[in-house]
């Protein structure tokens, strides 16, 4: 044992430590790490961003891949207790589901550097899609630069709908869309596919429902934590959604669980249409080549003419911690990694997601016909949708509000399953009032005097 411990100790003591870099970036996703530092493949056609940055500025950049949860824990530890300047990243990426808790402190105590002045001075505030700055802001103060836009569309199996004689893209409203989907299911049930469902819609979680609410410009909680759960449109949307996932008029079902396993459902035709943010389209392009020519894309149907034909799903920001060693150097690197033409090119190569910089949408790659989609110019559709993107806000209580909404949805689904549909809308409204009261109570307890 002693010998083993001695050998291990000697190995650890003598191993070379990783070279220190001038700047450090924390990221939670391997994909982004590869965008920044390259993937090391021999066939790589472009110089990694960090190498380009070194050539341009002489500064070395280290990219640290850290788990999403670990980033939250480590950053909060730094924010709460200070920390050695060498431990603090110069830039950090945060996923939209994790950002809320960082906005809990009063404005002046949030751990990230406000970026309004820098964005204005550099002109980026005019060049970045304004609605995409909303999730990373609190009371008008911007704390992060968006990586993406993630507008959502509907991608569907054109071939299957055509065989069923259903023209899905003619549906401009959600009720009309439901009718088309029911016709689709009826056709396929009669042709040997009784379990084929038209659409992927989550039965348990409120993610899909929140997409529909967002296109109606409803955030459950807005940026100052005001709850909108009792808005009559929320009750109506919950009722509609519940009817879409259970009962005789159900058109949706959960996709198979697992990372990107939903693509198998689409490929097999078990589920024929999906709400697709651009990152999901990227997955189809990478792993769903057998769907070539079989797909089509359309905007989301609406409930009312004032609704947006899209919403947003997912997102990442990059921010500068207040304790960063040299905020000016951090800001310069931020602009290079997120907003420079080289960064746009690299991102396009790896992810195919629409960048938040409006002028980058003029790039020809966004205007080319897509083989997978039978020549449809889906880049142009995403650009059109991005221009109509509703603002989305994230607060520390967004998860709780989403969960409260999911509970109301579950109750509505149970009522439909039990055939207790009479007066369902009113009951949903009542449940939402209860849920709203609970969320408000939690917010009042958890918020600080600002």
């Amino acid at each position: 044992m002693i010998l083993a411990a001695t050998v291990c100790g000697a190995v650890i003591a003598t191993r070379s430590s990783p070279a220190k870099t001038d700047l450090t970036v924390w990221t939670f996703t391997d994909l982004h790490a590869r965008i920044f530092r390259g993937d090391g493949s021999k066939n790589a056609t472009r110089t990694p961003l960090v190498d380009l940055y070194r050539q341009e500025t002489g500064q070395t950049v280290g990219i640290k891949l850290i788990g999403n949860q670990a980033i939250t824990v480590r950053l909060n530890s730094i924010f709460d207790n200070g920390g050695d300047a060498n431990d603090v990243p110069d830039l950090v990426e945060i996923e939209i589901g994790s950002v809320g808790r960082f906005f809990r402190p009063p404005l002046n105590e949030i751990g990230f550097l406000p970026l309004n002045d820098r964005l204005a001075a550099s002109g980026w505030d005019k060049r970045i899609l304004p609605s995409r700055l909303a999730p990373w802001s609190k009371q008008g103060v911007i704390f992060g630069v968006p990586h993406d836009v993630h507008p959502v569309s509907i991608t569907y199996r054109r071939d299957l709908f055509e065989k069923a004689g259903v023209k899905l893209d003619e549906a401009k409203t959600w009720p009309a869309f439901q009718e088309k989907c029911l016709a689709f299911q009826t056709y396929w049930a009669a042709h040997g596919f009784p379990r084929r469902r038209a659409m992927e819609l989550a039965v348990n979680s409120s993610d899909g429902l929140q997409v529909m609410l967002l296109q109606r410009h409803i955030n459950l909680l807005d940026s100052d934590n005001t709850s909108h759960m009792t808005d009559p449109r929320v009750a109506a949307t919950v009722a509609f959604y519940a009817h879409c996932v259970v009962g005789d008029r159900a058109i949706g079902a959960d996709s198979s669980p697992g990372s990107n396993v939903w693509l198998r459902d689409l490929t097999h035709g078990d589920l024929a249409c999906f709400i697709t943010p651009d990152w999901r389209t990227g997955v189809i392009k990478t792993s769903g080549r057998e769907l070539k020519g079989k797909l089509a894309m359309m905007p989301l149907p609406r409930f009312d003419p004032t609704d947006a034909p899209t919403a947003t799903w997912g997102g990442t920001m990059i921010a500068i911690p207040k304790q960063a060693r040299d905020p000016e150097k951090s800001w310069r690197l931020l602009q290079f990694l997120y907003l420079s033409p080289a960064a746009m090119q690299a991102r396009s190569q790896y992810t195919g997601t629409l960048p938040p910089v409006i002028e980058a949408w003029d790039d020809s790659s966004w205007h080319e016909p897509d083989e997978l989609f039978n020549g449809q110019k889906i880049g142009e559709l995403y650009i059109d949708l991005a221009r109509q993107l509703p603002d989305r806000y994230v607060t520390p209580f967004t998860t709780l509000a989403g969960q409260a909404l999911a509970q109301v949805l579950s109750r509505a689904e149970i009522a439909i399953k039990n055939g207790e549909e009479a007066g369902l809308d009113q009951r949903i409204a009542g449940w939402l009032i209860d849920a709203d009261a609970e969320v408000r109570k939690r917010i009042a307890f958890g918020r600080f005097d600002e």
Partner: protein
């Protein structure tokens, strides 16, 4: 060489030995004590103190007395989580202990061949960890493509689409199934070791007295493994109260239908890391400690009384 230097050199080793015999126990214990204080005592006391504070921003905190606990008592979501957790903690040992004991008895039987293979097969589920088990069962229980429904459909010869993960009544059942799959083999190993330590002469004596299998089991085997049985019940119950990863991953980081899969630790995690309210999360944590200690004390008292009787 002077007399005093000779005396010093003679005294020096004895002083060293005296010092060593006095302090060496402390030195031996020091690594554990330092680690224990750093990673157990300090975080525990800090979280206990934190449960009486509201943290404000990165550096400041405000003493709020019992406010966190007062809010907890009126928090419907906490009680829902507590009800789910307590229900699981009652049912889980009731199923796991007999199943593990049954398997252990079976594998201890002289009639079973290839015992090491079976032992490893049953124990191996524990090696994969709860996150993997949750991912696996999420696939198995998928209503449309899961093997479980496929198997039931084949068995009953009609299409079965049980919503294991979206039916509120089945949420905890699904968690229980996954939990049992994960842990029965682990508990079995303990019982197997205990069974092998029961004096074989007692079985011979029971056989001579004409005791049947059940009588032997209840009057020889069970008393023989009682300490391990009590230990397993205690450990399993405490583990059940700490349930987190399994439902968290199984229900894709949600609380499940009607929040029926929400456990106390999940709610603690949500309060601490989604909302960022570490004071309230600490209050939830200490309430859980109180609950576990109470249950452990009750179990201990019952087992003591049983032993006395």
């Amino acid at each position: 060489m002077s007399d005093s230097s000779i005396a010093d050199s003679a005294a020096s080793p004895s002083r060293w030995w005296a010092w060593q015999s006095r302090y060496s126990p402390y030195l031996f214990v020091a690594p554990f004590a330092i680690l224990f204080c750093t990673f157990m005592i300090y975080p525990l006391t800090r979280s206990f103190a934190l449960s009486f504070y509201k943290t404000i921003g990165p550096r400041d905190s405000r003493f709020v007395g019992f406010e966190n606990f007062k809010f907890l008592i009126a928090d419907r979501l906490f009680w829902l989580a507590a009800a789910n957790t307590i229900g699981y903690a009652i049912v889980f040992p009731l199923l796991q202990i007999p199943a593990a004991l049954g398997l252990a008895v079976l594998l201890n039987s002289k009639r079973v061949r290839a015992k090491p293979v079976f032992r490893f097969a049953f124990f191996s589920t524990h090696l994969v960890g709860s996150v993997f088990a949750a991912v696996l069962f999420a696939q198995l229980m998928s209503p449309r493509s899961g093997l479980l429904n496929h198997f039931l459909s084949q068995l009953l010869r009609r299409p079965i689409e049980v919503n294991w993960l979206s039916d509120p009544n089945l949420a905890m059942v699904s968690t229980l199934i996954a939990g049992l799959w994960l842990s029965v083999g682990y508990a079995m190993i303990y019982f197997l070791a205990a069974l092998q330590s029961v004096d074989a002469e007692l079985y011979d004596a029971a056989a001579v007295d004409g005791a049947g299998n059940w009588a032997t089991f209840f009057h020889v085997t069970l008393p023989g493994i009682r300490p391990v049985l009590i230990f397993m019940i205690l450990v399993t119950t405490i583990g059940a109260f700490q349930l987190f990863e399994l439902p968290y991953v199984l229900f894709q980081q949600s609380a499940g239908p009607l929040s029926r899969a929400l456990t106390i630790v999940m709610y603690l995690f949500m309060s601490g890391w989604s909302v960022g309210d570490l004071g309230y999360a600490s209050a939830i944590g200490w309430t859980l400690v109180l609950l576990i200690v109470t249950v452990a004390l009750v179990q201990r008292r019952i087992s003591t009384k049983l032993e006395e009787s």
